[in-house]
Amino acid sequence: MRKALGMLVLLVLVAALTSLAGEGFLSAYNLENLCRRTALFGILAIGAGLVIMAGGIDLSTGSVVCLSGCLLPWLLVEQGWSETAAVATVLGAGVAIGLFQGGLVAWGRLQPFLVTLCGLLFYRGLARGFTADQTQGFQGGYEGLRTLATGRIPIPGLTDLEAFDGPSAFAIPAPAISLLAIALLAAFLLRFTVWGRWLLATGRNPEAAAYSGVPVAWVTLSAFVAGATISAYGGMLFVLDVGSAQPADFGNFYELYAIAAAVLGGCSLRGGEGGIAGIVVGAALLQVLRNTIVLVEWIPDNLEYAVLGAVILVGVLADELVRRYSRRRGRRLAEDRSARA
């Protein structure tokens, strides 16, 4: 929680600086867009975070996004399936991927890094294969389904803060509703249920968890299933948002955005640590930074990855320094106490 607050302060700071240094940051159009992108990437980051908290890692997120992003329009347009059947199949594919990867990790005793690295190659290859590398799109149809991602809920009275192109009234983008629902559900499960405690315990110390009778293998499996299903849902929202998916590069690198957001938000790659609020703030921070690079004139856009890499590194480093400092201080306090006693 402390970390989530720290990141929130940083987020506000970066946003303030950007609105001063660049043009149009506070426009309704930009804020709405930022909100939409944060929601889309935030959903993926929650999936990645759950796996990381259970002591694993999921590198396949981007490829799962690609697979579900291509599968949905392909089933609807090329195969003529009903919306319900197509959506159910895409989510079912996410569950199946989670069962497959989680099963290999939990019972096959394979390392999550390797299993999901193979997944990263496999699902993208699959998507490019069944589409023959052809872009999959909705061809202007399915407006109803697409409101899940493109819908806007205008907020009356909240008018533009800064004149810019596009609509001048601020609206909440529909994916933010999905993010809110998923985040609340995940936070509730993590904090208030037996499953959540088991998940964190398994990530913290799998051996001690097994010695306590925690069903470690099942918990691991459930984390991977949750991660992959959330990724599949996220991929659906991404394609519903932009309208079409190009199998060769749809969702490229998204796993890294997801993992980075989770780590910025307080998840330790050693497992057992992290919270949903932090992850969402981490995802927002990354999107604001990308926005900053675009809006601030003197930062060349081509430097995007370098800036993101540097910021994540500084964030992780700062956190480690704070942690060491507070640990030293805690030890000193304990020594003082025992010296006095």
Partner: protein, 507 residues
């Protein structure tokens, strides 16, 4: 090498000497003013129970640890050995119980490791082969220097390790349990080699549990107990009985024997073979209300037996029954569900979630009981933690603290508390008071006895004989995976137990 064989006859000057050496690890006094010396061409044996301080003494002589007090003298001069390298440079080599060979390299590369011959700055493979061949000949191992270590058996590896020390021109060779994992023939060969080395003027320090080997090899025997030196025997007047009585020594503390009301058999182990001693099947029974102690030295299979019963290890054969019903092998979850609990030896690794609060550690095995419909009841967890912290005299009694901030004794209470919350039918404990101070130790013993009084069947393993004797109602002796005796604690003496634990011969 100088004419060592003849010089040893004339000069009685010690080559390596420890004078009043002490060493503490945290609150534990591992060595307390121990002195010993060894001359060239002599074999000195150091014997003692587990935890007597043998390994610490060896590690100080080999430069692994520095002593807190006292001095080490080499060739009559005080030396400070800050690292293994320092010791090696003086010709002191430790052949460790767990062999330290790089399995991915061949024999020659291992023998010259750290002092590789070079020519023009690049590795000199042929030079290495020459050095290795000479060293292998000295230990009588007829294998090509390029043999991969991975293809060698334990006995050959032991010899390679000694060859490595000889190639480094070791003048003092420290052998830590050299025959522990060797066959009879291999052990005999090693004993032969040790006497050859003695003839050549090498000083050999030997640690062994096998008293017959000690008696065959050693010129002098130093006995340690509880970190102190309890006696030194010459070859001429050493007997097995004398050594054992010095090893055990202390008066057995008078223990309050309570009336045991034993109930039905709660735990039955029938023909169980663990992975590391597949040839020996173990049978034992523990009744409700009974505390059974599993006595054994390092390598006797105590831990493995407990872990096999609990199911974190699979059994090679046999069956474990809880109240007459078989328990699936390799399934700790079912074991916990059936009321079996294990307090592991390494509580930091297997027992606790160190950064998490004590109350979560208390509740971890019983979370579903502290939840309704999958939703945790923080109130119920808090009530449980309040009760356990009070009953166990947890210090400090604050269960919101991270478990890792508690002392060893209080950490152990937290692990015990987790199982008390489960109200176990069978409680297994592995080294219940390791790294625990004297006060907490007594408290933990009381907690265990109280659990037994409530009808729980308790089986614990300990390498400390006085703990076995004072806590157990009945003692099961384990040697190299085999049950070598069962004694009622009331009639058992430390000598009687110890003689069942120490191997008669290298089998």
């Amino acid at each position: 090498m100088p004419d060592a064989a003849s010089s040893r006859e004339h000069s009685g000057a010690p080559l390596l000497e420890a004078r009043g050496v002490s060493k503490r690890f945290g609150a534990v006094r591992a060595l307390d003013e121990v002195s010993c010396s060894i001359r060239a061409g002599e074999v000195l044996a150091v014997v003692g129970e587990n935890g007597a301080g043998k390994s610490t003494l060896m590690k100080i002589l080999a430069g692994v640890h520095e002593p807190d007090a006292g001095e080490i003298r080499f060739e009559g001069r005080t030396v400070r050995m800050r690292s293994v390298r320092h010791a090696q440079d003086r010709g002191i080599a430790l052949v460790h119980q767990e062999l330290n060979l790089a399995e991915n390299l061949d024999v020659a590369a291992n023998i010259v490791l750290g002092r590789e011959p070079r020519r023009l700055g690049v590795l000199d493979g042929r030079g290495a082969d020459r050095i290795a061949a000479a060293a292998l000949e000295k230990v009588g191992l007829a294998i090509p220097p390029r043999t991969p270590v991975a293809s060698l058996g334990v006995g050959a590896r032991q010899l390679v390790e000694i060859a490595k020390s000889l190639a480094a021109e070791a003048r003092v060779l420290i052998l830590d349990e050299p025959t522990a994992s060797l066959s009879k023939a291999e052990a005999d060969r090693l004993i032969g080699l040790v006497s050859q080395l003695r003839e050549r003027g090498t000083a050999v320090v030997l640690i062994s549990h096998r008293l017959d080997e000690v008696l065959r090899m050693a010129d002098r025997i130093v006995v340690l107990r509880d970190g102190r030196q309890r006696g030194e025997l010459d070859r001429a007047n050493a007997t097995r009985e004398k050594i054992v009585s010095l090893m055990v020594g202390r008066d057995v503390a008078t223990v309050e024997r309570r009336e045991i009301e034993t109930g039905a058999v709660r735990l039955a182990v029938k023909g169980v073979c663990s992975e590391i001693h597949p040839r020996h099947a173990v049978d034992l029974e523990v009744r409700g209300g009974e505390v059974v102690g599993l006595a054994g030295l390092v390598g006797s299979g105590r831990t493995e037996l407990l872990e096999t019963i609990f199911g974190v290890r699979r059994a090679r054969a046999g069956i474990v029954e809880i109240e007459g019903v078989g328990l699936p092998s390799g399934d700790p979850r079912t074991a916990v569900a059936r009321g079996v609990a294990l307090v592991p030896e390494d509580r930091g690794r297997h027992g606790l979630f160190l950064p998490d609060p004590v109350r979560l550690n208390f509740a971890m095995a019983t979370l579903p009981e502290h939840a309704r419909g999958g939703m945790l009841s923080f109130q119920a967890i808090r009530r449980l933690a309040d009760r356990l912290a009070r009953d166990l005299h947890l210090r400090p009694p604050d269960h919101g603290r991270a478990a890792g901030t508690l002392s060893g004794g209080n950490q152990q209470k937290v692990v015990l508390g987790r199982w008390i919350a489960l109200a176990p039918k069978v409680l297994l404990l592995d080294e219940p008071t390791r790294g625990v101070d004297v006060g907490a130790r007594a408290e933990i013993h009381t907690i265990v006895r109280d659990l037994a009084a409530k009808g729980c069947a308790v089986l614990f393993a300990s390498s400390e004989l006085d703990e076995v004797l004072s806590l157990a109602d009945r003692i099961v002796c384990l040697r190299e995976g085999e049950v070598t005796g069962e004694l009622a604690a009331a009639e058992a003496s430390e000598e009687a137990v110890m003689s069942r634990l120490v191997a008669e011969r290298a089998a």
